[in-house]
């Protein structure tokens, strides 16, 4: 690959003083591997923010640092701060369980539990002792409706989650995340294993969810980033190269690197 300079990084000043998520000078290492380098990123409330970049650029690590899932990886080290509603989640006495309840996560491959559809959605509310009986039923119904799955599964709530198609399973995982009443939803390439129709449904759902939740989605699909997001961040080799209004980033990229990525010169 041609040597590409990352010197002239360009960020829009988004003029946000009350960012929902505020990443400041974030550095992450896995062993000796410096995966994220001095990331600064402010994410607005109730928007869809896409993080794009070539494989291995640190996209996934970046969103997993927002709900501290990187803590689970042996040999990971984090330096810097991530503020959520003004609170630094890397503070020593952070309650990570409450943090992860507040921040839902949807993974690359649909990963429902080997339980019934109902039990999948009820899992979170149960472990957080949020509801029981009728109240729990209501949460399950509401979450499935929000994830646009209710009509397809309402007559077979007690069937195994594995009886659903891939796209339905992914929407079930979204419903499962919504059931614990999060404020932020992180999605790690949620459509990478889905066919175009299922992808379209998830993307439509994403737009709707952003009316109520702050959504951060990782994707290496440029069209997807352009279609669904309000803001786009471009990550390259662990550095944030460009960040701004999606339209602006795609139509008028400030960085040469972004332009090359968007026009398909590498990636």
């Amino acid at each position: 690959m041609k040597q590409i300079s990352t010197k002239n990084c360009t960020h829009d000043d988004l003029m946000v003083n009350d960012a929902k998520i505020d990443v400041r000078k974030l550095n992450v290492w896995f062993g000796d591997n410096h995966v994220l380098k001095d990331i600064n990123l402010k994410i607005r409330e109730k928007t869809v923010t896409a993080i794009m970049g070539p494989s291995g650029c640190g996209k996934t690590t970046l969103i997993r640092s927002i709900n501290r899932m990187n803590d689970l990886i042996n040999g990971s080290r984090t330096l810097g701060e991530v503020y959520i509603d003004g609170y630094n989640i890397y503070e020593r006495n952070t309650n990570v369980y409450e943090l992860r309840r507040k921040i839902g996560m949807v993974f690359q491959k649909p990963n429902p539990f080997p339980k019934s559809i109902y039990e999948n959605v009820a899992f979170g509310p149960k472990i957080h002792k949020m509801a029981r009986g009728k109240e729990l039923d209501d949460i399950v119904e509401k979450s499935l409706k929000e994830a646009a799955l209710w009509d397809e599964v309402k007559d077979r709530l007690h069937n195994s989650a594995f009886s659903l198609s891939g796209g339905q399973q992914q929407r079930l995982c979204i419903a499962r995340a919504l059931a614990v009443k999060p404020e932020i939803i992180l999605m790690d390439e949620p459509c990478s294993s889905l066919d175009p129709t299922a992808t379209a449904r998830i993307e439509a759902l994403l737009r709707r969810l952003s009316e109520k939740y702050t959504v951060v989605i990782v994707t290496h699909n440029l069209q997807q980033a352009a279609r669904v997001s309000d803001f786009t961040a471009f990550l390259y080799m662990g550095k944030l190269v460009e960040y701004g209004d999606t339209k602006r980033v795609f139509e008028n990229p400030q960085s040469e690197l972004t332009e090359k990525y968007i026009t398909g010169e590498f990636g």
């Binding site: 899932m69 689970l72 992860r100 993974f107 990963n111 080997p114 899992f123 957080h128 614990v180």
Partner: protein, 298 residues
């Protein structure tokens, strides 16, 4: 199908397939021989046991070779008593250990614990028997009273023996749980224990149960160490307390063999005991295997 007639490679092709055939046959004979051996053993045992096999043998209450009484019912019950008790102890210690090793243990601690557990497998049963005789039995005699040789001593020795198997199979079952399930639970805000309880254990439970059953089969067939610590009264009885001595199927064969007359009813009965033991252990193993298979498909 391509017609190879007249082509140069044809002959060589033919030779190779002959070699393939030969290898296949050799492998098949190898596989067959193990089956034949199993059936030979069963046939031989059945033949020798045949004169003793009747309801009086299986359900007869008294085993007293001197009085020509060969009922093994009490011995079967004692064997189950000793085996199941030992396995309960093993489960109570082994399953939590497996959970700890699979989920909570820092890597460097695991690097110490895991090899020591595996070392336990390598201890010959006769050495465990010595340990039982010299350490466990005096300990029981001094602290709980009685002879020392007892059901309790059998439990302890058998538990030590089966522990590594239960731990490693259970740990494997827990580690086989896809990481994506674990991540899903943790990302929902579950604690590590909640993840273990609600995701890992339900998923791994058939594997864990199978490990327990396999250990039970092994423990019931164990001879040397048990014979050394169990007490072996001359006349069979069902132990009334855990400090009571007991007579189990394996120890009966081992001890009676030294003075049995050949042929005699006593002799045939010992083969009968062997056959009964074989069927009990086989039944347990088949159940465990079936459970694992069903668990995998599910």
């Amino acid at each position: 199908m391509v017609n190879l007639e007249g082509k140069g490679g044809m002959k060589r092709e033919g030779q190779r397939s002959l070699l393939e055939k030969a290898i296949e046959i050799i492998l098949f004979v190898g596989a067959l021989s193990s089956i034949i051996i199993v059936f030979l053993i069963i046939a031989y045992m059945s033949l020798e046991a045949y004169p003793a096999l009747n309801l009086d043998f299986l359900l007869g209450w008294f085993w007293d070779p001197k009085k020509e009484m060969f009922g093994i019912f009490q011995i079967i019950v004692s064997t189950l008593y000793v085996g199941v008790g030992a396995i309960l102890i093993t489960t109570a210690i082994g399953v939590p250990t497996a959970i700890f090793l699979a989920e909570f243990c820092p890597r460097n601690v695991r690097n110490v614990i895991k090899p020591s557990i595996e070392l336990l497998v390598g201890i010959p049963t006769i050495v465990l028997g010595f340990f039982g005789l010299m350490v466990v039995i005096p300990f029981i005699r001094d602290n709980f009273g009685g002879w020392g040789t007892s059901v309790l001593a059998g439990w302890m020795i058998l538990a030590i023996m089966s522990l590594p198997h239960v731990i490693s199979i259970s740990e494997d079952a827990l580690r086989a749980v896809p990481n994506s399930y674990k991540e899903a639970a943790l990302a929902l805000g579950a604690t590590r224990w909640q993840t273990v309880k609600k995701v890992l254990l339900p998923y791994a439970k058939t594997g864990i149960l199978a490990s327990v059953l396999l250990a039970l089969g092994r423990v019931m067939g164990e001879t040397m160490a048990v014979t050394m610590v169990i007490g072996n009264p001359r006349v069979a009885w069902i132990p009334t307390s855990i400090l009571d001595r007991a007579k189990v199927l394996t120890s009966t064969i081992l001890l009676d063999w030294s003075y049995v007359e050949i042929p005699s009813m006593h002799y045939h009965s010992l083969f009968g005991i062997g056959l009964v033991l074989f069927f009990i252990v086989a039944l347990i193993d088949v159940t465990a295997t079936y459970m694992v298979k069903r668990g995998v498909i599910k």
